[in-house]
């Protein structure tokens, strides 16, 4: 008898599991879409030259008018405009940002808004691979005025650290990300949202990310669990707003190129190749035989593709060890080895970071 009861329970379970979700989802997906679209806004700001788009996406995180969006060049203007889902155009300013999470929070310059907003505590969720998802964004600026943002469907392919094979591509966000099989990360899609088909908020769609080597694109979203606290703290005014570039100042910087006697070319591009401009006489670099115009390719076996990355790598060196560089001189690859000086850790310039960026290095 007990066995039969067990069996019937199993069957009941199976049947409920099997039948219930599909009908429920079928009815709710349109209302899910409508609900999410009402909470998604179009952001218009700087850009419009070359191939830089001047628009992105945001999602409303407080009914008083706070919008979370992706931290990008679009926000680099006094003339920032947010277009609500009902078509209202409202001026906005950047209230705070966390560049390492690619996050910015905007404040709308209007009163008594009472907007439909995400409740980051109650509405958000976490999902694993295989979860069916929807992506919402202002991609390609297809929607204007009160037109609703675009919706894509897909599946979470992986939840994994975005920090990737060194040098394949550069991303400011290096933590865990949802990788999706839909083409969510299009121009202007950054700051959009990834949700379950039931409308649970999973993450914020990131920037366009291309692997320069294979010319393939990665579609990812930053999990809301990473963003929730900073967003809430920025709104509460408890978060230390940082300026662009602050991440580099605050990053671990135990050693600088100069401490090895290396003067790099001026870092003027987004990805300035790590050419050595000068070598200080009598320095470790000079002793190791480094020369002006050497291009630094590898630091301790890791590919570096820019001055910025080289500085980051040096900043993370441990005192007292060895620094192995591979440089390109003419058409030759030359390995060199320098001692890393023994020196006490300089106290971090600021307080420790709220969240280590993934820690996958």
């Amino acid at each position: 008898m007990m066995a039969i009861r067990v069996l019937s329970m199993v069957f009941t379970l199976l049947v409920t599991v099997v039948v219930w979700p599909s009908t429920a989802v079928g009815q709710s997906v349109h209302s899910t879409i409508q609900r999410v679209q009402q909470r998604t806004v179009k952001v218009f700001g700087a850009g419009g030259i070359k191939r830089l788009h001047s628009y992105s996406t945001g999602f409303v995180v407080s009914s008083a008018g706070h919008v979370a969006t992706v931290w990008s060049h679009v926000l680099d203007t006094e003339e920032l405009t947010v277009v609500l889902s009902d078509g209202r155009k409202i001026r906005a300013k950047v209230l705070g940002a966390e560049p390492q999470l690619d996050l910015a929070v905007l404040e709308l310059k209007a009163e008594d808004l009472e907007l439909p907003a995400w409740d980051l505590e109650a509405d958000s969720s976490d999902a694993g691979p295989g979860t069916r998802v929807l992506g919402f964004s202002n991609m390609f600026r297809v929607a204007t005025g009160d037109e609703m943002v675009s919706v894509l469907h897909g599946v979470v392919a992986a939840k994994a650290p975005l920090a990737t094979r060194s040098g394949a591509f550069e991303t400011s966000y290096e933590g865990t990300a949802y990788i999706v099989d839909a083409v969510t990360n299009n121009p202007g899609a950054g700051g959009g949202v990834l949700t379950t088909r039931g409308g649970r908020l999973l993450g914020m769609i990131g920037k366009e990310l291309r692997n320069a080597a294979s010319n393939t694109w990665v579609n990812y979203a930053v999990p809301i669990s990473e963003l929730k606290q900073p967003i809430q703290q920025i709104i509460a005014g408890k978060y230390r707003a940082r300026q662009r570039g602050a991440d580099e100042k605050d990053a671990v910087a135990r050693f600088r190129p100069l401490e090895f006697g290396i003067v790099l070319v001026p870092d003027v591009l987004f990805r300035t190749p790590a050419f050595i401009d000068r070598v200080q006489p009598g320095s470790a670099a000079a002793t190791a035989g480094l020369q002006p115009d050497d291009l630094v390719l590898f630091v301790n076996g890791d590919l570096v593709q820019s001055c910025r990355v080289l500085k980051q790598r040096l900043g993370r060196l441990d005192a007292g060890g060895k620094l192995k560089l591979t440089v390109r001189r003419g058409d030759k690859l030359v390995p060199v080895e320098l001692p890393v000086p023994d020196k006490p850790l300089t106290p971090a310039s600021g307080q420790p970071k709220t969240k280590p960026p993934g820690g996958s290095k």
């Binding site: 008898m1 007990m2 066995a3 067990v6 069996l7 199993v10 069957f11 199976l14 599991v17 099997v18 039948v19 979700p21 599909s22 009908t23 997906v29 349109h30 899910t32 879409i33 679209q37 191939r51 078509g87 209202r88 155009k89 929807l134 991609m139 390609f140 297809v142 929607a143 204007t144 005025g145 009160d146 037109e147 609703m148 943002v149 675009s150 919706v151 894509l152 469907h153 839909a182 083409v183 969510t184 299009n186 121009p187 694109w217």
Partner: protein
Amino acid sequence: MRFLERDGCPGCRWWPAAIVLLAVAVLPRTTRAVDPAVLAAEAKRIAVASRLASSVVAIFSRGGQGGGSGVLISSDGYALTNFHVTRGAGTFMKCGLNDGRLYDAVIVGIDPTGDVALVKLLGRDDFPHAQLGDSDKLKVGDWTFAMGNPFLLATDFQPTVTYGIVSGLHRYQYPAGTILEYTDCIQVDTSINPGNSGGPLFSAGGHLVGINGRGSFEKRGRVNSGAGYAISINQIKLFMDHLRSGRVVDHATLGATVVTREDGAVVVDGILDESEAFRRGLREGDEIISFAGRPLRSVNQFKNILGIYPKGWKLPLVFRRDQVRTEVVLRLRALHRASELTGQPRASRTRPGKPRPGQPPGRPKRRPRRGRRPPPAKPPEKYKHLFVKKTGFANFYFNLQEQKRVMSGVTRLGDFGSAVGAWVLAGKTAAGDAFQLTLADAGVGLSWKQKAYFQELKSAEPLDEPKGSGGFLYAMQMWKTFLANRAKGFGEFYYLGSEPLDGSGDRVDVMISELGNVRCRWYLDRKQGRLLGFDSQREEDTDECEVRLTGDVESGGRHWPKAIVVRSGGQPVATFGVATVTIRKGATE
């Protein structure tokens, strides 16, 4: 009992069996798809896709060096595709169906602005075809199938199927370097790639809801990047009879431009003095409240509404100035000059340089590697007669066919060609005034309310007589010519397509006549072919004389209207009740 004692546990002997049963119950379900709903949905998808596949056309241009897709919409072979697919394909092309056969096809009509072309597959009268759906019923999130021939993969003409959702509706896509403009279109994440152009977008239920034609590509190369666009089938329905007319059809403009004000209102910021909108009182600064019955909230929306209608349609427009609401019905002006549409298309190479957003995926140039390569599409000998060249037409042959169909209704009205002499119509107007209208060879005379009006025909220009009627006398002369001489009486005479009578009535067939500067639109009932009325315009950008014919009186074996209702410039002129009709042989006045 012993058993129980030996096992020491009641029911324990059932466990092995239970476990086996459990395994049986669980394992097969997990190894197959667990969810019967998923299986059912899959089975439905497969069934719909395989049913639809037979209506999908693989189109190859002359020599088979490019191509695209299309979809059959009637058993006699009419198929829809993109204009940018047929543009380089010539008048005859080869079309493959999933029965593995290659059919000859001929161009019928084109809409270069809307990027739609109608072609006709030949050789069968029982083609499998798709059912037209209602694209206005689509909702964002609905599943869709796109079918076609992306990358020209299918050498056996089995269409490729992609499946995705509606990402956005009523999208506006700016012209991409050409006059081609996508208005009120459907945005999908269903994969649309080069070669999908012209192919069908089906609803989950298998109804044709759009024609795929564009995608947003930007920097990722010419492959799907999550945003494809389909021309809505509801837009195409508005153009369908225009396309069947064999013409090069045009879209419309209001003659006014609009901007969105800070508060979201859509206001006129420029207007052509010669437009009908201006004549009906629309001015700069007026707020447009609704257009074609749809409320307006953005410039894109205005373009979306305007973009789905053929030129010449009448649409209601509501505007506001100083709190005063005005409702008018306006005939839309042509968007392009005829030469812009019929100008020889440039050789259709893939545009060099960087791709633009929202450009047509175009025709991939790769030849099918193996299998049947279609032979060069020289006009096939047995179908040569199905193409007639004429300026302004994609294929005049189809216009002649439609003319024949529409004018057969006029034939049933009687033999007016034999009514030689003056036609005298007499009776009373609705207001009770006696009138006599005389249509003679030398001129048209009207005596009405103790006044006489005259329009000389031999030398004089068409006059606005009576004043404010839009030229009623000359219009009635056109009516006589239409009945008695038909095409022979005019410089140009062709079938236009169909439109709702007076902007809101039933769809009627429209014939166009041109004589000198005078252009008439003739409205014929689609079922019986009755002549319902006509609009006569003395010259461009003047108010038409709108004549509507009601009732039916037989006299001398001919059917005459019982009443002639005349309007012009939105105002009634008179309703002439016809009591008697006399043919005066040899009379000149």
